[in-house]
Point group: C2
């Protein structure tokens, strides 16, 4: 089920014209929110970020924030899904004739869709812990593309995914030009050393699950630092984990040659993952969907 520029359509009809800038110039920003047990998680934080992304890319929609919220609820309601992800895309269209070079003249429009909940790695990988490699390809620098705007500039990550595939790893982790950790395709990265949790402060998307983990750390009395994370520090860490809306908190048990925490997710990772899901079950920052009777 999808919503495309003012209409509800089946997901297979959710398409973008090849002429639109949203496709031809990757001129789209987006967000992905999860629904668990029939309730959105941190919907306002996602809507805040979606608005921030649009602002950074000089975009606006005809739908108001409350209309976008209603569309997201309606999509989940129509799907009947209790566990889902809802994606919102703000897509730049086509400038009117004679203004091929002026993006300001191209109207933007909203595409939204709902899918069954998924995890960025298969279930068995969540259990054994993900195997990662440090990619040789640096993440696109924030000076060129501001990754605080959630966007589709991911050829660096896709090339890195091919590298990881060749190396037998599940995913790559990308560094910046200075050798600090940034992120991987769809996830933030955390390292744990001597009980202190560290995650990068720049060069990556400011993930909502990353934010949630910092809140859980505060609640559990775990010291969490947001600062540059040199690759050497990550390689030498006691534990590594990643976070994503599509999977929550996922342990990393191998990084290049090294095996971490006995080849299974580490203790801090498990404490944070357990807290994440149990707090969500208890209704943390959730917004229930009102389903129809037949659901």
């Amino acid at each position: 089920m999808a919503y495309v520029d003012q209409s509800y359509v089946p997901l297979e009809d959710a398409k973008v014209s090849v002429l639109h800038w949203g496709f031809r110039r990757a001129d789209t920003v987006y967000d992905v929110v999860s629904v668990a047990d029939g309730a959105f998680f941190k919907l306002d934080a996602h809507l805040d970020r979606f608005e921030r992304s649009m602002k950074i890319f000089h975009m606006s929609l005809s739908e108001s924030r409350s209309e976008i919220r209603n569309i997201m609820h309606e999509l989940v309601r129509r799907s009947g899904l209790r566990n889902a992800t809802v994606t919102t895309d703000c897509v730049r269209g086509l400038p009117p004739d004679g203004a091929v070079a002026i993006p300001a003249n191209a109207p933007c429009y909203l595409i939204a869709y709902v899918k069954p909940y998924y995890t960025i790695v298969p279930r068995n990988v969540v259990e054994r812990g993900a195997h990662m490699m440090v990619s040789s390809i640096p993440r696109i620098p924030a000076r060129s593309v501001d990754h605080r705007a959630k966007n589709f500039h991911r050829a660096d990550m896709t090339q890195a995914s091919f590298e990881a595939l060749r190396a037998g790893a599940d995913h790559p982790i990308l560094l910046d030009e200075h050798g600090n950790v940034t992120e991987g395709p769809g996830f933030n990265v955390f390292a744990v050393t001597n009980g202190v949790v560290v995650t990068p402060d720049q060069g990556m998307l400011e993930g909502i699950t990353r934010q949630a983990v910092t809140e859980i750390c505060r609640k559990l009395g775990i010291n969490c630092e947001i600062r540059p994370l040199p690759v050497r520090e990550m390689r030498d860490a006691d534990e590594i984990f990643i976070t994503s809306t599509a999977g929550g908190v996922i342990g990393v048990t191998r990084l290049d040659g090294r095996i971490f925490t006995n080849d299974r997710p580490g203790d801090v990772t498990r404490r944070l993952s357990d807290a994440y899901w149990s707090m969500r079950k208890q209704g943390w920052d959730c917004e229930p969907v009102t389903y129809r009777h037949w659901n």
Copy 2:
């Protein structure tokens, strides 16, 4: 008129699913060829580059090179257009279930379409010369995204276009991190100093019109250097021009505060532009389209 994954369809039906990597991860490479007076220009050079782009992005199509060539001819034939651009996109689709992270599992498909010939600036701007600004936003480095693969990673250029718009310029020119000229949205950049034509050697798309200009220089006995072009050298040049399949050779008459060549395209620029179009009229590296009788 368009061709989408094995079928001919109207251009308004040429669309990409929002789920496909070609859209969601800007995982598409493309090319744009011009047709003038009913003949393709340098079609083999464009097909070579399209194949090189696919290879760099780890892509392949089910259509062979000769099938792609035939599709391009058929599109122009069906359109009846004598002056046109033909665009070919190699779009990565959707990985099968359970392989969300593995691009190698997602098949790629061809979209191609024909449009009436256009120029990246309006006709009056070609005549007076384009007004440019040097953007504060560095081009995405080649280490992160290899721009020899013609691709859609253009948020840096789009942000720079907004900067240019605010400054009252027609287009931005982007530098690399070292202050060398790269390219602008859809065009290569040349500077002329003491009769020597210089164009950058890296960090930008290797344009086919750029290549054509180096050939014309050789023919006209003009010295042409392909090497790093520091922004200072461009600012101090005698002339500046840009090249694009969509417009050929176009003079630049203003760059930030400076007015060049009496506010009209310069002599070398005009010689190269005149030679470009007259050589094309004489059938230079052209491949005629066989139209139907009724055209």
